[in-house]
């Protein structure tokens, strides 16, 4: 059974991940830190919501994001205020960052399919066998004649990429780049293994 808080987090917060990441990328000069920032924001939102569930989840999420960025700018002095511009910049209208809704099941299905299609062929096949044909990891391993660890690795990678595509934190070009990179490194690994 999933905790109600987790369900809330998933529906009300993760649904805005695309907008959040666009917001962070736009404001924060160092892109490499966006993943960390996002995580930090999620932690703050989740912990605050555990005490008292905010009514307007989306604006709460963005207020949290804004406060976190402001804290960082003030305390860490990693970035100069000039680099980020005035703190007012943090108040970009939330709706400017393309409003997102939790999609209807039909569109979601389409997005899942699109996310799935972007995986590398191996990842894609393993995920299909496990999730659609509902073979166990063991069965997948024996059918593909690989060890279970390899199956696990594909699934773990697959689910991370799907999460990125699905919650929209990756732009299409970035996603393609990553998928290509994954496929590339997979090929390399394959050569080592074979």
């Amino acid at each position: 059974m999933q905790a109600p808080l987790d369900t809330w987090f998933e529906r009300e917060i993760l649904a805005h991940e695309g907008a959040l990441v666009r917001y962070l990328t736009r404001i924060w000069p160092n892109r490499d830190e966006v993943h960390d920032l996002r995580q930090e924001i999620y932690i703050r939102v989740y912990e605050a919501a555990a005490k008292s569930r905010p009514h307007a989840a989306k604006s709460f999420l963005f207020t949290t994001a804004r406060n976190l960025l402001a804290d960082r700018i003030r305390r860490e002095r990693i970035v100069s205020i000039e680099a980020v511009g005035d703190l007012e910049v943090l108040d970009v209208l939330i709706d400017e960052v393309s409003p997102e809704r939790w999609l209807g099941a039909r569109q979601e299905l389409k997005r899942v399919a699109q996310a799935f299609d972007r995986l590398s062929p191996k990842c894609r096949r393993v995920l299909w066998m496990r999730r659609v044909e509902q073979l166990t990891q063991k069965e997948v391993a024996s059918v593909l004649r690989v060890n279970e660890k390899t199956v696990e690795k594909h699934l773990a990678k697959g689910v991370r990429l799907i999460a990125d595509y699905l919650f929209g934190s990756k732009s299409t070009s970035e996603a393609t780049k990553t998928a290509a990179g994954e496929a590339q490194s997979e090929r390399e690994r394959g050569q080592h293994q074979d």
Binding site: E10, F116, P121, R131, V132, V143, V159
Partner: protein, 338 residues
């Protein structure tokens, strides 16, 4: 990049939980790992994505075991386009022969199993006017037939097929990702994997009510070249008439109301009298006729036993001062005299 390492760890836990070898010790270790919020949020996020991938099953309906639709070719699965050859899999990742042998023996097993209850043209079931009937299917699914309805059931290794020849039926579909459950109503095909829905066929077209899971409606006469199938999720009602498919999302109680016939009751809320009468007429050999056009739009509400037309008519007489005249199995309704 601490957060990326956490995400990797979360993915590893998620997949290990899925591995089928999960001990109490693993659970304890996992619970401990999940304690910090940083870990928890990362895990929730991936678990949500993992759950989403289950939706692929809806798209997988109709794909043979061992087949994997190529990217962007979902509509070209054998199910959508039976004549199309789908042989070319992603290069370099062909399943080894053992896989094919496995599939082949599985298919043979299914065929042998099916042979017991498979008749060439399928089994036929029908209900009389006013009756309902539950029909258990060999695959574990259950069909409930509404009044004056007729279905033909055909279970094959590739497909579970129910032809709705007339009337309405409610389907509780047993999960089987490898064999899509298809309800054909005229030229419409309603496809489901593990779900609950009803299909009704009348002179106005086909209506589909989904109470659980997702179904896919394939509209048209098999010329599926450009038409995109419509996906209908739980809580939705789709009407198909002529070339169009109209999908409405309804609150749960309203959806339930469309299916109230299963309990033997018709439930009306603000329903025009003409519609209520048409509904009752499905359940009785008597005919209720509205003689005064002005009555047709009168809104009525209430729960009525579907087979008790007399009680319905009596309530109309008492509640709305409607005059009912009974002759030769016809009940004529007239507006009150001024």
């Amino acid at each position: 990049m601490d957060s990326i390492r956490i995400e990797q760890a979360a993915a590893d836990w998620l997949i290990r939980r899925d591995s089928g070898t999960w001990s109490a010790a693993d659970q304890a270790a996992f619970d401990e790992w999940l304690e910090p919020t940083a870990h928890r949020v990362a895990y929730i996020r991936l678990a949500a994505a993992w759950r989403e991938t289950q939706r692929l099953q809806a798209l997988g309906a109709g794909t043979a075991p061992g087949e994997l639709p190529r990217p962007n070719e979902w509509r070209l699965t054998p199910f959508f386009s039976p004549r199309r050859q789908i042989g070319s899999r992603a290069a370099g990742f062909r399943p080894p022969p053992v896989r094919l042998a496995l599939v082949a023996s599985l298919l043979i097993a299914i065929l042998l199993g099916s042979a017991w209850f498979l008749l060439p043209r399928g089994d036929s079931y029908h209900t009389a006017v006013g009756g309902t009937q539950g029909v258990p299917m060999a695959d574990g699914s259950k069909v409930t037939l509404n009044t004056d309805s007729r279905i033909r059931v055909q279970l094959t290794a590739r497909e579970r097929r129910v032809q709705l020849e007339q009337g309405e039926a409610f389907f509780e579909v047993a999960k089987d990702a490898t064999r899509p459950f298809v309800v054909a109503a005229g030229t419409e095909r309603v496809v489901a994997v593990g779900t609950q829905f009803s299909v009704r066929r009348d002179e106005r077209g086909v209506r589909v009510v989904v109470t659980e899971g997702t179904v896919r409606i394939e509209h048209g006469d098999g010329a599926m070249t450009e038409a995109t199938p419509a996906m209908i999720e739980a809580g939705s009602i789709a009407r198909i008439a002529g070339e169009g498919v109209l999908i409405q999302e309804k609150p749960r109680d309203e959806v339930e109301r469309y299916l109230s016939w299963r309990t033997g009751y018709l439930v009306f809320r603000e329903t025009p009298l003409a519609d209520a009468v048409a509904e009752f007429n499905r359940y009785t050999t008597q005919r209720i006729v509205i003689e005064d056009a002005q009555l047709a739009g009168v809104r009525i509400g209430g729960n009525f036993k579907s087979t008790n037309v007399d009680a319905f008519v009596r309530l109309l007489e008492e509640g709305f001062q409607i005059t009912a005249t009974r002759t030769d199995g016809v009940i004529a309704l007239r507006a009150p005299r001024q």
